[in-house]
């Protein structure tokens, strides 16, 4: 007997999400048990079944979530663009006004 991890896709094209595991003597029975346990209500499009020993967890916080400012990698790190855009528009408007003044 061995543990098999089960991933379930709920919508066509959706992500396969970890939903649990089953204990089975081989892959064929693991797939059968996965069906029995994780898709009893027509709520699964597909299941992925993998031997648990084939799964490796990576949870090294120093690598995955280093204590550095990485907002330069995110769209929200650039909110300053709103103010920059406002200043450029104001400058262009002021220049247009000045030119109009000269024309008059």
């Amino acid at each position: 007997m061995g543990a098999f991890v089960v991933f379930r896709q709920e919508e066509p094209g959706g992500a396969f999400v970890h939903c649990g595991s089953v204990d089975a003597p081989d892959m064929e029975l693991a797939c059968q048990y996965a069906r029995d346990i994780f898709s009893r209500r027509e709520d699964a499009q597909r299941l992925w079944v993998a031997p648990q020993e084939a799964i490796r967890e990576v949870a090294d916080g120093d690598l995955l979530r280093p204590a550095l400012d990485r907002t330069y990698r995110l769209g929200r790190g650039y909110r300053v663009t709103v103010e920059k855009r406002r200043r450029i528009k104001a400058r262009i408007a002021a220049r247009a006004e000045a030119e109009q003044g000269e024309a008059v």
Partner: protein, 315 residues
């Protein structure tokens, strides 16, 4: 009908079955069905998927080169970090996409042989040189902006694994756009020299941008649309691009080098000078201003990395 003409017996049954299956498949994807890697698929669908995703992946990895030239010349540490992060993303996108192509049956050495020999293609915009820091801004803001428009449409593609990868890619592209926009806005709000530099970059990039979404192929003649590998015709994507970005560009006081560019108030569609599509073909088949240099560099790094692949992958 063709099946009856080609012969009888088992062969005929096989052909009929293939045709019936293909017809059912075609109806399924047209109705919004989603295909997974392990599903049966017609050869034409597989061939088109491979070509389409491979071209996308090639563009991501080749797209790292024009901007890579500017990491060492970025004007501040923050800009250098952001640009390196963006390029790292692009290479990551190529990795994700090449895996899809491999799962569909084309091995990576073949993919790279076809890329470096010029047999397979990558996007027109990566065949051009980057002449100033403003080019980095224009690429991030407008090239990635144009890419986001076609990539968002791929979120509803008929190939499930592609749509899942596209979710990740689109999310990261949103940062690319903002970093490019911030570079452009800084230049637009800067000295006369900086504004001139930005205008020069826009002037040079406008034609490649107008060609980015491809020639106006009638939707009924576009096989990738019929199989719902992509979901919007080239021209619709270009209109969306113009709608979103032309007003923003004008707002910055910049001039777009196309006197015919104008929104038709009656139809709501943008009118513009039709790009010379034969030039697009020439550029993507290896006659672009930087095609030879880029492919040469990619070939060199692939050859120089051979020992590492041999060691790490036992290949």
């Amino acid at each position: 009908m063709r099946a009856q003409a080609t012969g009888g017996g088992a062969a005929m049954t096989a052909i009929l079955t293939e045709e019936t299956r293909t017809e059912t498949f075609r109806r399924d994807v047209a109705d919004g069905g989603v295909i997974e890697t392990s599903d049966w698929m017609p050869e034409e669908y597989r061939r088109r998927l491979i070509k389409f995703i491979e071209m996308h992946a090639n563009s991501e990895i080749m797209g790292a080169l024009p901007e890579g030239d500017w990491i060492g010349r970025a004007p501040s540490l923050k800009r250098k970090l952001a640009l390196s992060a963006k390029i790292q993303d692009e290479v990551g996108h190529a990795q994700m996409l090449y895996r899809l192509v491999e799962d569909l049956g084309k091995p990576r050495p073949q993919i790279f042989a076809d890329l470096t020999s010029g047999k397979s293609k990558f996007h027109n915009v990566f065949h051009y040189p980057t002449r100033s820091w403003a080019d980095v801004g224009i690429i991030g803001w407008l090239v990635d902006g144009a890419a986001i428009i076609s990539q968002s449409a791929l979120l509803r593609s008929s190939y499930g694994p592609y749509t899942r990868v596209m979710k990740r890619i689109c999310w990261e592209e949103a940062f690319h756009l903002k970093q490019g926009e911030d570079v452009c806005l800084t230049l637009a709000g800067g000295s006369a020299l900086q504004r001139e530099m930005l205008q020069d970059a826009l002037t040079r990039w406008w034609e490649p941008l107008m060609m980015f979404h491809g020639p106006p192929t009638p939707p009924e003649q576009d096989g990738d649309l019929a199989w719902r590998i992509k979901t919007k015709p080239n021209d619709a994507l270009r209109q969306e691009f113009l709608d979103r970005y032309v007003p923003q560009i004008w707002e910055l006081g910049l001039t777009i080098p196309d006197p015919a560019l104008k929104k038709d108030v009656q139809t709501g569609r943008w009118r513009y000078t039709e790009p010379d599509w034969s030039r697009l073909i020439a550029v993507v088949t290896g006659s672009g201003p930087a095609s030879a240099q880029r492919l040469g560099f990619r070939r060199l790094t692939y050859e120089e990395g051979a020992w590492l692949r041999a060691v790490t992958m036992n290949a």
